[in-house]
Symmetry: C2
Subunit: 223 residues, 2 copies
DNA sequence: AACGAACCTGAATCACCTGTCAGGTTTGGA
DNA sequence: TCCAAACCTGACAGGTGATTCAGGTTCGTT
């Protein structure tokens, strides 16, 4: 129940069959919730607004989710799964670790640009559902740690780095760069960018490459 | 009015004199708001809860702040000023840029450990007051950029780095490392740490040092 | 064509909140 | 000692929105 690494379906339908029609209604509600919450935030997002956007009656909501809190948690799980999928797909078949990192960030930024809901939902999770906040970050970091350790094994990145701390640092970089240069940026018509500015991306990658690359020693250090 | 870099006092008392007694009451309210909001979040934090904690009557609140939103904004401005002060004080009289960076982060983490409200308030700002969210991050980043540019001028850090992007990256690192290793961490008695684990701090600094240090070239690259 | 299961609906309940205001209290200077 | 300015108070008006529930609708199967 307090398990951080198992639960996938967050709803009131645990166990209940759900016909195709039911599945569709649940999906409509989840998508509506994603947009409404991204637009106006969790607290302003009333059940009525969500059900209206989904095109169903208000009572229907409670057939698929136990509470407003529940749909929020389902939303985090769903967006988290999707962003990780987007990152994994982008990293598919890359060579070096830095190349993989580059691809992973690319996937992350593309997803962020297309689903600002992720950011906004995660930020609100601080109080709405701290458990989901942790789950979100922890799941992403786990992938990073594994990749970094493997790369260290092959001598591709500085062996003096701590994989866990490094993973959190990388996440932090992606988070704030994404916020600043994707979510805050607007073109001259007030439209949000479709992807990260390549110059910014390269500047960020230079920083990351510096950070990960094994230093060619001049003076001596421990280990 | 939409100025991001000027307004300092956010309240309903603009212009009004305020005797010492008044100042004190306002301060009590602001401090109460800090704790209540940090504990239960903006939306759960009712005016009654804040005034009760401050030890004043409910109506008093509106003598000092126009609305719940206003006290929140005042809170961001206040915490932002204090964290920047804490960082600046720690950086006072440091030598190299990396040394300054180290000291700045140290000040930042100490402040974060002592005032978890900063994090929580800022996260809620996403919807409560986006303007304040930007103000908070922007003000901190500005200091970074200046420092980085100066350090580049003296050849202390990689001239290939973009100061602005680098500044946001550094902020991101501090933000997530602080969240993970300060706000989430508890000792065996369930108490939060007083400061960041030195091992984590060193691991983070190694990453940052790698990132900032001018690479000793082996292969050639463009400028 | 008919029946049960699965679905859908929205008015009503209930709990709680923000912001106002008319009236009381404290303070400090003359 | 007295008074006006500054402060303080909390009941109350005006609202909101999550959740329930009794009753209706649709679907798939036989």
């Amino acid at each position: 129940m307090t398990e951080l690494h198992e639960a996938e379906e967050v709803s009131s339908t645990a166990g209940r069959p759900l016909t195709r029609r039911g599945e569709q209604t649940r999906a409509k509600l989840l998508e509506a919730a994603e947009h409404v919450v991204a637009d106006i935030g969790y607290h302003e997002a009333s059940i009525v607004k969500i059900t209206e956007r989904a095109g169903v009656g208000m009572g229907t909501f409670y057939l698929y989710f136990d509470s407003k809190q529940t749909v929020f948690e389902a939303l985090v799980v769903d967006l988290n799964r999707r962003v990780r999928h987007s990152m994994a797909a982008a990293m598919e078949g890359t060579g070096s670790r830095v190349e993989a990192e580059r691809a992973g960030f690319s996937g992350f930024f593309r997803f962020t640009a297309q689903h600002p809901a992720l950011y906004r939902v995660v930020r609100e999770a601080e109080f709405v559902s701290p458990q989901m906040l942790r789950l979100h970050y922890t799941r992403i970091v786990e992938g990073y740690i594994a990749g970094l350790e493997a790369a260290q094994g092959v001598g591709e990145i500085d062996p003096g780095l701590d994989p866990e701390v490094t993973a959190w640092a990388l996440m932090g970089i992606g988070e704030l760069i994404g916020m600043r240069y994707l979510l805050w940026e607007r073109d001259s018509d007030g439209r949000p960018p479709v992807d990260l500015d390549p110059d910014v991306f390269e500047a960020m990658m230079r920083f990351i490459q510096n950070a990960l690359t094994p230093p060619r020693r001049a003076e001596s250090e421990e280990s």
